[in-house]
Every structure is written in C-alpha cells, then in structure tokens.
C-alpha cells in the first residue's frame, strides 16, 4: 500500500552542525509535501512546504528538497540549535492511498542535539 516513511527514527547531531532528516514516499501522484516539528507535549508546528512543481524551497535556516524521481523528501536544518530538538515528520497530499483526508503522515524522526 501507499506509505510515507522515514529512514531513521532517531538522529543525533552536534550543536552548530547541519541536520538532514529524510522521508520516503510511495505515492507518485502526491503533489504537495509538508514538514512539521513537534516538541514534547505540544501540537505539530508547520515548518515548510513544497509543491511537486518545485525541487527545492528555502526558509529561515531550513531547506526542503524534493526528488520526484526516487520519491524522496528531505529537510535540512542549518546550524542546529538546542531549540531544534523535537520530532520531525513529513506529510504528503495525494488523492490516492492516503487517509480519508488525502494526507499521509510519516511516523517521525526524533532529532537530538548534542552540546
């Protein structure tokens, strides 16, 4: 079946280094992708999104890359800070294979910042 997944459940990086969080998707009809950050005990927070007609989008300290050929999405965080510690998960919007609302969520990657 269709799914959105993450390559690693936990990612540990040194403070100040760049972080790269990956997401694989299998629905080639998906046209919209979103990254969320969720801190412990809080609701998910929108970080950045990208549509399928783009392959890169930049925000403040974050970049999302979309490779439609291999159905791969990544989130890059520059100069990682302690406040970046959270679970990050991707979501895709495709009209087939997702949940009833058309969105499919990954399970999440826990980003841990080492001092």
């Amino acid at each position: 079946g269709e799914s959105v997944g993450l390559h690693l459940p936990t990612l540990s990086v040194q403070e100040g280094d760049n972080s790269i969080i990956n997401c694989a998707y299998s629905n080639s009809a998906s046209d919209y992708f979103i990254w969320y950050k969720q801190e412990s005990g809080k609701g998910p927070q929108f970080i950045i999104d990208i549509r399928s007609n783009m392959d890169k989008r930049q925000g403040q300290r974050v970049t999302v890359l979309l490779n439609k050929t291999v159905k791969h999405l990544s989130l890059q965080i520059a100069a990682t800070q302690p406040g970046d510690s959270a679970v990050y998960f991707c979501a895709e919007n495709g009209m087939s294979g997702g949940g009833a609302d058309g969105l499919t969520f990954g399970k999440g990657t826990h980003l841990i910042i080492q001092p």
């Binding site: 919209y32 969320y36 005990g41 609701g43 009833a100 609302d101 999440g108």
Partner: protein, 111 residues
C-alpha cells in the same frame, strides 16, 4: 497571530463519562480535523469537516462523534469514554490547498 486553540491541555475522565473536546480556529478555514496521536501509531484521523454542519468519518471514527455548528468551531465528542481512548487529541484546520495548522493538543486520560 493566526491559530487553532483547544479548550483543555490536560483532561482526566472516568470510564463511561461523556467527554467534549472543543476546538476553535480564527483563520476562516473551511476544513477542520480531529486526530489522535499514540506512540508508534502516529497521527490517525478520527473525523473531519469541509463545511458547517458537514462531517465525514476518518480512519478511526468508532466511539466518537463530532459537531460543527459554526465555521470556526469543531467539537469532538466521546459518548462513553473508555480506557483505550486515552490519547493525545489534536485538532487542525486548513484552507483547501494549504498545510494543516494544528492546535496545541489535549492529553486525555480515561481511568
């Protein structure tokens, strides 16, 4: 600052009680959603609504109902709470082709 708010951050209820979880958004979004989030299971859609008085079942609607009497408000109702409904409940809203904006969540414990 646009946002989604939920009536309670923490809630403790007894088995068999009727539970109301309220959600309000101030972004004039047409679409509103209720999810539950459990360790290892990720986000699961319970119910959603595309318009006032409209509701659609999500992936796990059993044991829940919803109400949308006003555009900005979407309520989740547990008719008779059970221990397996202990979870983090997340409300979200979105415009037709935009990202979901989530509320802060309500952590419900049913004893």
């Amino acid at each position: 600052d646009v946002k989604v708010t939920q009536s309670s951050r923490y809630l403790v209820k007894r088995t068999g009680e009727k539970v109301f979880l309220e959600c309000v958004q101030d972004m004039d979004h047409e679409n509103m959603f209720w999810y539950r989030q459990d360790p290892g299971l990720g986000l699961r859609l319970i119910y959603f609504s595309y318009d006032v008085k409209m509701k659609e079942k999500g992936d796990i609607p059993e044991g829940y109902s919803v109400s949308r009497e006003k555009k900005e408000r979407f309520s989740l109702i547990l008719e008779s709470a059970s221990t397996n409904q202990t979870s983090m409940y997340l409300c979200a809203s979105r415009a037709s082709t935009s990202a979901l904006i989530f509320g802060p969540g309500t952590r419900l414990t049913v004893t």
